[in-house]
């Protein structure tokens, strides 16, 4: 399996209400071992997955939001968030978890993983992929 493919994990579901976000994240973590060119997109209610301050202590569900912090260690460093989805929901990037990765090509400098893109820009990213996964 020497071939490298561009894979985009598209997240359009909010967490907790359904399991798609949690099980989607599990695919991303397992997929990291395959050393493909991966990125994630958060569109629509998917942006709620990385909202700050999630706390499930009163609902007895698994709070999996800390796992997004580990993505950088798995070399998943491109997290595209759609600007229009944030706008529609009255959110800005400051409402999202400050997800970062350490850039090995830049003396392990800490850099933000989240990149806010317009719908048009994200459509271009999507068009440039080889494989699309939707969760």
């Amino acid at each position: 399996m020497s071939e490298t493919k561009k894979m985009l994990y598209i997240n359009r579901n909010a967490p907790y209400g359904t399991i798609y976000a949690l099980e989607g994240l599990e695919v991303v973590l397992i997929g990291a071992a395959f050393e493909q060119d991966v990125s994630m997109a958060f569109i629509g209610d998917g942006v709620y997955q990385i909202l700050k301050g999630q706390d499930t202590s009163d609902s007895d569900m698994k709070n999996f939001s800390p796992t997004y912090n580990a993505l950088g260690d798995y070399e998943v460093t491109k997290l595209y968030v759609e600007q229009e989805s944030l706008d529609e929901r009255g959110l800005t990037v400051d409402d999202l978890m400050p997800l970062v990765y350490e850039d090995e090509d830049d003396d392990w400098a800490e850099k933000p993983s989240i990149v806010v893109l317009s719908r048009t820009e994200l459509a271009g990213v999507m068009a440039g992929q080889d494989v699309l996964f939707n969760f």
Partner: protein, 98 residues
């Protein structure tokens, strides 16, 4: 790229998003409850008729739901599962707007 939409446009934003993500040369295939977007006269009609993309609808799903060819928005092409496979094969990838 082939986009599939399987939700009624009256229940979900999938078709709206799909159309907003459409690139030149892309195609749309309406399947399952997505085929309700193929019916003319509804408030979602402009999403389909206003798109420059070629729009297809899955015949067996139209038929199951009682949507005859006289009820379809002009320009929509009806395909079977063989057509679905051909569309998936002739496009470089498939985006399922679940």
């Amino acid at each position: 790229m082939l986009h599939t939409v399987n939700k009624s446009p009256y229940r979900s934003d999938s078709l709206k998003l799909c159309m907003a993500y459409m690139q030149s040369g892309d195609m749309v295939l309406l399947i399952e409850d997505g085929v309700y977007a193929a019916m003319k006269g509804g408030s979602s009609e402009a999403l389909v008729s206003g798109s420059s993309a070629k729009v297809y609808a899955l015949g067996p799903d139209l038929k199951a739901r009682g949507i005859g060819s006289d009820k379809l928005i002009d320009g929509i092409e009806v395909v079977g599962f063989d057509g679905f496979v051909n569309l998936a094969a002739e496009n470089d990838k498939v985006q399922s707007w679940l």
